[in-house]
Amino acid sequence: MNLDPSFIWTAGLSLLQALPETLWITFVSVAAGLVIGTAVALCRMYHIPVLSQLSAGYVAFVRGTPMLMHLLLIYFGLPVLIDGISSAMGWSFTSASIPLIGFVWIAFSITAGAYMSEVVRAGIQAVDKGQVEAAQSIGMTTIQTLRRIILPQALSVSLPNLSNSVIGMLHGSTLAYTISVVEINARAQIVAADNWKYFEAYIAAAILFWVLTILIEWISGWLEYRLNAYQRGGAL
């Protein structure tokens, strides 16, 4: 087997075309996942009737099944649902007008939501109850206490775990190729097949993912440093 080092570079440049897809999938699923995860964590922690049971079921199901299944279930199930509702209501909307990447966004947001709810929950539990009581005692409402006292501290405590979730979603985004969304991995496959240089193409893809991962860790480290200023004793 002969390796063509120069093709790694060529393939890498070509993979960059698919970079936006990968970043979008990661960004959307992480952002939506954080919102869903926070809502789910709160429903469970405040024991909101019905919602907390639904939330627990959702988290258990998603964590108990592979990420690829979420994508396939959404990809094959959602159109049936949407088209059924649409025709029952007499709308002209059909699932065919949803872009493929839309299915990936929805599916991976669901995946991320479940995992991140656990991260957020652990973060909230790390904020001591005394601060909540202090907030209540000065007359803050539950929502104000959450927004101003609990969540900021929960997020900064959770940052290392959240950054792991982001990396998990970045790597998981490669599964989007199964429904023909051309992100970095799919692009590598195409480049490889066109030139019969599989190893080189995948080396290029691996390097690209590694660089992205390092960037995420770097950003998260910086954020952690900024947000956790209050936890460092000593100098301001």
Binding site: G130, A134, Q136, A229
Partner: protein
């Protein structure tokens, strides 16, 4: 004026407060004494509904809040008229000393930031922390943190400040500075209910001492009365245990 009537609270099968009646006049400093588990903390926490009493009434001025299911609005009102200083300080760890004091002013009382900042700086000055405005709780000693806690309570200009063993978590050498601050604000005529085991402080500062045991108020009176001539056997035993040296008064 603060008035508790028939305040009762049960945890599981244990009745912790048994129809407590207590009236505190404006400007009065009431010290609550009692053995561990007698219900002092629970009573204090019922006054601002951090704990919900099962029955009874908490009245502050014209606001009367009743029983186990008062309206959210009533609780909110009650909390705006009271402030609490906690044994564990309970400062907001992600906020500086100044921000800790400002929080209630800007978020609850909706005072403009610049004005809130001014009031807060003044309060911190008052508790001797004028040079620590921008320090986070993690950068302050226990005594300093508790003084921020006191400034946070004072800033809200409440009708009563509730202190739950404000010096119990402190290293002995830091107790004095905190008691001194409380003493000073007591002299300003701020209404206070203080749970403490600091007998010297109680003697100095209290207008009235209330002795609790087993969820009831066993006796109450002027500090001299309670400390020199307690009427009840239980009070006598408690004082003997906590201040073993005999009290020679010739």
């Amino acid at each position: 004026m603060i008035q508790l009537s028939g305040l009762s609270k049960t945890f599981g099968t244990q009745q912790v407060l048994k129809e407590i009646d207590l009236t505190v006049d404006k400007g009065e400093v009431v010290v609550i004494l009692g053995p561990s588990g007698s219900g002092k903390t629970t009573m204090l926490r019922c006054i601002n509904y951090l704990e919900r009493p099962d029955a009874g009434e908490v009245r502050i001025g014209h606001l009367a809040v009743q029983g186990k299911h008062p309206s959210r609005r009533d609780i909110h009102q009650l909390r705006q008229r009271t402030a609490m200083v906690f044994q564990q300080y309970n400062l907001f760890k992600h906020r500086t000393a100044l921000e800790n004091v400002m929080e209630g002013l800007t978020v609850v009382q909706r005072i403009p930031r610049s004005e809130a900042r001014e009031i807060s700086a003044r309060m911190l000055e008052k508790v001797g922390l004028g040079s620590k405005l921008d320090h986070y709780p993690g950068q302050l000693s226990g005594g300093q943190q508790q003084r921020v806690g006191i400034a946070r309570a004072l800033a809200l200009n409440p009708e009563v400040i509730l202190f739950d063993e404000p010096t119990s978590a402190l290293d002995p050498e830091l107790v004095g500075e905190v008691l001194e601050v409380i003493r000073r604000i007591a002299r300003e005529g701020i209404t206070m209910i203080v749970v403490t085991h600091e007998m010297g402080f109680a003697r100095d500062v209290a207008n009235r001492v209330v002795f609790m045991d087993g969820g009831i108020i066993v006796e109450e009176g002027q500090p001299e009365e309670i400390f020199q001539r307690p009427r009840e056997e239980r009070t006598r035993q408690f004082l003997q245990r906590i201040m073993p040296e005999p009290n020679y008064s010739i």
